[in-house]
Amino acid sequence: MSLPQDEIDHYKRNLPRAFAAPLSLRLRRGTLALGFAALVAWCLYAFGFSPERIWNGLGRLGRVLGFMFPPHIWTDPEDIADIAKGLGETLAMAFLGTLLGALVAFPLSFLGAKNINRFTPLRFGVRRGFDVIRALETLIVALVFIRAFGLGPLAGVLAIAVGEVGVLAKLFAEAIENTAEKPQEGVVAAGGSRPQAIRIGLMPQIWPVLLSITLYNFESNVRTGTILGIVGAGGIGFLLSDRIGAYRWGEAWSIIFLIIILVYVIDWLSARIRARFIGKWEGVR
């Protein structure tokens, strides 16, 4: 039932716009594509990207990858304890940082929620405060804390906590705003005070959401913890940068594998917990 070619040509001639986008749209698309391509090309040139360099690098990459197999397995109990401690430290950093952040963020979030804090200037101030904290890069905060507390996991915990305050307070405040008014009105109608209305009418609605958000952020903080370790805030990242710095690639690869496994397990566990007890909430920062 296909059309003969001359009929197709006929329609193409008479209905040009059915076969191609209008010129202005095509121009716009072309310019956009060209602009992106030019950006990529210019950047590659400016970065000193050359096939030769990649080619030379590939040889070295092969050598480095060669250490991956057979994987290095620590046999000295002291080394094993060291690595296990590093992994535990990273986990503890993420856990403590998230929890500390959540504890501080929780009361603050009420100040930033539209249906609790009706005093607009204060609410706006608090909200902008959250934005400012979120814009502070965790890594920079960590550097400041490392200067104050010395190298180690404590700086990492506090840096994660500070970053988390901004993120969690914002998400918590949004969760509080997304609650139904009716249960609170019911409590007030039955003679409850405003704190009682919040405690009995509002809190049961937000608990699961808060838990879910906190778990999700814990998950992403396990990654952050690894990164902070590399700049000197303890944990497995610290051990990794140490091994790479000493060119002990066999051990470095094993640590990288352990990090991947750790992240994977935590993601999986937390997804399971969230789905089982709380229901689905997929957050994006």
Partner: protein, 292 residues
């Protein structure tokens, strides 16, 4: 009455429903408080451990938290005349950082489109290989950028190229998963229509799927670009180009270059806020439509 024939039904809550309710409340409170105690014990012990493992203690360090920022600000204030000049001095490296993020987002996004389409049920070119591609994306996503960058810096030497490749690899995994989730919800009818008139796989994807998913994909890409700006600033810190590298040099120098530190901090801060707002605005338009 039927009930009398079988004897009185046992009351499930002796003492009326109120007692049952109160018992439940009491039980829940008990569980809650046990959990809370456990949590705080864990937290206290963890904090203690972190304190003990740290080079300096928490309580000795506490009053120093603001010492370093104060020192930095004091010196920068003393040299405040330099700040505007320094500000412009670091604009090129900030642009380099943004460029790293842009190129890696574009390259990673391109790879993510292919990976996502190949690993989405119903759309995949080779349905048997879905498992392979989705595990590949998981792997790419699981390795933090900074780890890839550390390996690549050793392999390729310093500079922006390793950072770019590292971020692009991570981006392709992270975006690929999100893209594939969006594509899963795409309507298959246009694809079937195209298949019935003999379109090849590429044509089916380009004309049947892409128009449906483009706004969501673009929105995710913008969000990723925002994240990648931060990532590329951080990667500079471990030794590859951009503003992070300048920051590291200035911080290592210590006293005497704190005016540079402040200049870099503020330019980085402003850029992050700017792109945050810009992409937030654009994403809102993409997902909710231009005219509200």
């Amino acid at each position: 009455m039927v009930d009398t024939a079988f004897g009185p039904t046992p009351d499930p809550h002796p003492g009326g429903p109120q007692a049952g309710y109160l018992a439940m409340v009491r039980r829940r409170r008990l569980y809650g408080s046990v959990l809370a105690i456990l949590f705080f014990a864990l937290m206290a012990s963890g904090f203690h451990l972190a304190d003990a493992r740290n080079a300096g203690g928490f309580w000795q360090g506490l009053h120093q938290v603001f010492d370093f920022p104060a020192e930095v600000v004091r010196e920068a204030w003393a040299k405040r005349a330099n700040l505007p000049g320094l500000f412009f001095k670091f604009v090129p490296s900030m642009i380099e950082t943004i460029n790293i993020a842009a190129v890696s987002t574009l390259l990673g996004g391109g790879a993510a489109i292919v990976l996502a389409l190949l690993s989405t049920r119903g759309l995949a070119r080779w349905p048997r290989l879905i498992w392979v591609f989705s595990r590949l994306m998981d792997g790419l996503r699981a390795v933090p950028e900074i780890v890839i960058a550390l390996v690549l810096i050793f392999v390729l030497g310093g500079g922006p190229v390793p950072a770019m490749i590292a971020i692009a690899l991570h981006t392709s995994g992270a975006l690929g998963k999100l893209f594939s989730e969006v594509a899963e919800n795409a309507d298959l009818k246009p694809v079937e229509g195209l298949a019935s008139v003999g379109a090849r796989w590429g044509q089916r994807m380009a004309f049947g799927v892409l128009p449906q998913v483009a706004p969501n994909w673009l929105s995710y890409t913008l969000l990723r670009f925002e994240i990648n700006i931060r990532a590329s600033a951080i990667l500079g810190f471990v030794g590859s180009g951009g503003i992070g590298y300048d920051l590291k040099l200035a911080m290592q120098w210590g006293i005497g270059k704190y005016d540079q530190v402040i200049a870099i901090f503020s330019i980085l801060f402003l850029t992050i806020v700017l792109f945050d707002q810009l992409s937030g605005h654009l994403r809102e338009r993409l997902t909710k439509g231009a005219h509200k």
